[in-house]
């Protein structure tokens, strides 16, 4: 039984990383109807930002902030240079954004690959919490608790922000209908940038946590996570904030359980099969997007 709880703890920890990633993807989809294939690069660049800061002996807290700022800055750049221009074109459709963000992701990944010399660097994780607690013979690493606490905090804060602040309400209004929101005097451009900033910062944070857990960072850190993030988003319901968290946790726990009880080979397959099944049986996901009109 303690093995089960051990796996559960590990799964929730992995799932909360997926949740952080899925939150960003779902926010951007909610306001812009853009499925961002360049999201993986926010993860990688954020992790590299923190890595470089730590290499220069900057304190861990500041280094994490630098990494998040890197991810956010990259996200704003993507929004300003590519997305916002394409949004204004009359004949753009979903595919345009898919192709353009795939292109942007390729360029950013190549850039980081070139800069890092394709090497897998050791991530200096000394400053991160490293001990572990033993509760009822279940060992919980402090890093896992940190990741989980950060995810819970961020999700709750995001929920309050969306509901009770003016900018959060504006974001929901734009997600409901860009045209109506703009007629009511809401600055949609500011909302788009906000969504991308949050998306980039959260992806970077997730990347930093993954790098600290695996103690490595490379140009492909984000790649493997992208399709799993999409799986989490789809399972929760594209565009739904609580859905992103639940989807992420479901996939994380499912993967770890399958790997623990059967074989690690099944863990990625599980995510894809679940994703396909949800799409085919229940395309809106577990949580319907608040904007029903666009589903």
């Amino acid at each position: 039984m303690s093995y089960f709880f051990q796996q559960l703890v590990n799964g929730v920890s992995l799932g909360s990383v997926y949740a952080l990633l899925a939150l960003g993807v779902t926010l951007v989809w909610g306001v812009l109807n853009v499925l961002n294939f360049a999201h993986a690069q926010f993860i990688t660049w954020g992790a590299f930002g923190t890595y470089l800061a730590l290499e220069h002996h900057i304190s861990v807290a500041l280094a994490i902030l630098i990494g998040m700022a890197t991810g956010a800055a990259l996200a704003v750049l993507l929004e300003r240079v590519i997305i916002s221009v394409l949004v204004r074109r009359p004949q753009t459709n979903d595919f345009t954004f898919v192709v353009a963000t795939i292109g942007a992701g390729l360029m950013l990944e190549t850039l980081v690959q070139q800069l890092s010399g394709s090497a897998i660097d050791q991530f200096p994780a000394q400053g991160f919490p490293s001990g572990s607690w033993t509760v009822w013979s279940v060992s919980i690493s402090q890093l896992e608790v940190t990741v989980l606490a950060a995810t819970v905090l961020i999700t709750v804060a995001l929920g309050f922000w969306l509901r009770y602040t003016s900018l959060g309400r504006e974001l929901r209004a734009v997600a409901y209908s860009r045209e109506i929101a703009q007629l009511l005097g809401i600055n949609a451009r500011r909302v788009f940038i906000t969504a991308f900033v949050i998306s980039g910062a959260l992806a970077a944070l997730a990347g930093i946590f993954v790098s600290a857990e695996t103690v490595t960072v490379s140009y492909s850190t984000g790649d493997a996570l992208l399709t799993l993030t999409f799986a989490a988003v789809v399972v929760g319901g594209i565009g739904s904030v609580p859905g992103a968290v639940v989807g992420g946790l479901l996939i994380g726990v499912g993967q770890v359980m399958l790997a623990g009880y059967f074989s690690s080979n099944f863990s990625n397959g599980f995510a894809y099969v679940l994703m396909a099944a949800v799409l085919l049986i229940w395309p809106t996901g577990l949580f319907k997007q608040e904007v029903v009109a666009r589903a």
Partner: protein, 297 residues
């Protein structure tokens, strides 16, 4: 000429096989189905013929035909499953199914897990690939000129109007997915017999991105576009090879973004056509055939 041919035979074959993969992407895009399953079909085709020829000892011809028919059926089945979805949902579902198949290939022992299969007879030659490609091209041209071709173009432009005019939208989309499966399976099988060894890590997301790039550059209106794009960019790729593959990927990324900005419909984009007609008019100011062209359109 012949000498150049024999020294670059591998490159020529691979480029021509890539053309088949790109046409597989084109076949679904043409019908307005944004399927990302082509590389998955390709892996199924490659493994089918690899297992049949190495483990059952069947000749290559049988392996390739079974692979092509099998992936066409797979395409049909995927179509039956995913065609209740549209747009981005369909794209994600096909991607998920293709990834799931790859994970399956990586897991079971029949396909040699992550080791892959080696010792596949390398019997693909240019003189096998070229006739296949010509037959495929001819078939695309026949369909393009027929009432089926016009129906497909209509249903891509507006599925609602197409249906109201009696076009069987679902039937055409199913057929498109089956053809896509067939072509990708053919590409995979020929590729396996060209390289001689296959493993799951060949069928990555980046291969899909490359096929996608070629197809998008070529445009969705006419089959010649993707073919020209695949051969042109394949040659470009070969010339850039000295500077390393990372540059090549970055160039593809840039091409994708630039196309979405400048000519979202690829080579057949009206804006590019406008540029060409403007250039023609500038070169030969007296002739106004270009203007006549425009009026006629």
């Amino acid at each position: 000429m012949l000498e150049w041919f024999s020294t670059n035979q591998f490159f020529i074959d691979i480029t021509l096989i890539n053309c088949l993969l790109v046409l597989s992407v084109f076949a679904v895009f043409q019908a307005g189905v944004f399927s990302l399953a082509s590389v998955g079909f390709m892996s199924v085709g490659a493994y089918t013929t690899a297992i049949l020829t190495t483990k059952e000892g069947l000749p290559m011809g049988v392996g390739i035909i079974v692979a092509a028919v099998g992936t066409a059926l797979a395409g049909l089945i995927v179509g039956l499953i995913v065609l209740r979805l549209e747009g981005i949902y369909l794209a994600l579902a096909t991607l998920a199914l293709a990834q799931a198949v790859l994970v399956l290939i990586e897991t079971i022992s029949l396909t040699g897990a992550d080791q892959g299969i080696i010792g596949i007879p390398t019997v693909t030659t240019t003189w096998i690939v070229i006739p296949i490609l010509m037959v495929v091209a001819a078939a695309f041209q026949v369909v393009h000129r027929s009432h089926h071709g016009r129906a497909i173009h209509l249903l891509r432009a507006d599925p609602v109007i197409a249906r109201s005019l009696g076009v069987r939208v679902r039937g055409y989309k199913l057929a498109a997915l089956a053809v896509s499966g067939l072509l990708a399976g053919l590409a995979g099988a020929l590729n396996a017999h060209e390289v001689g060894a296959i493993s799951p890590d060949q069928y990555t997301f980046s291969l899909l991105v490359i096929a996608l790039t070629y197809a998008v550059v070529g445009g969705v209106a006419y089959w010649l576009g993707p073919l020209v794009a695949a051969i042109g960019l394949g040659l470009l790729n070969e010339f850039l090879h000295g500077s390393g593959t990372t540059i090549e990927t970055a160039v593809y990324g840039f091409v994708l973004i630039a196309l979405m900005f400048g000519a979202p419909q690829g080579l057949g984009d009206p804006r590019l056509r406008g540029l060409v007609t403007a250039a023609v008019r500038w070169r030969r100011p007296r002739r106004n055939t270009a203007e006549l062209e425009e009026i006629r359109q």
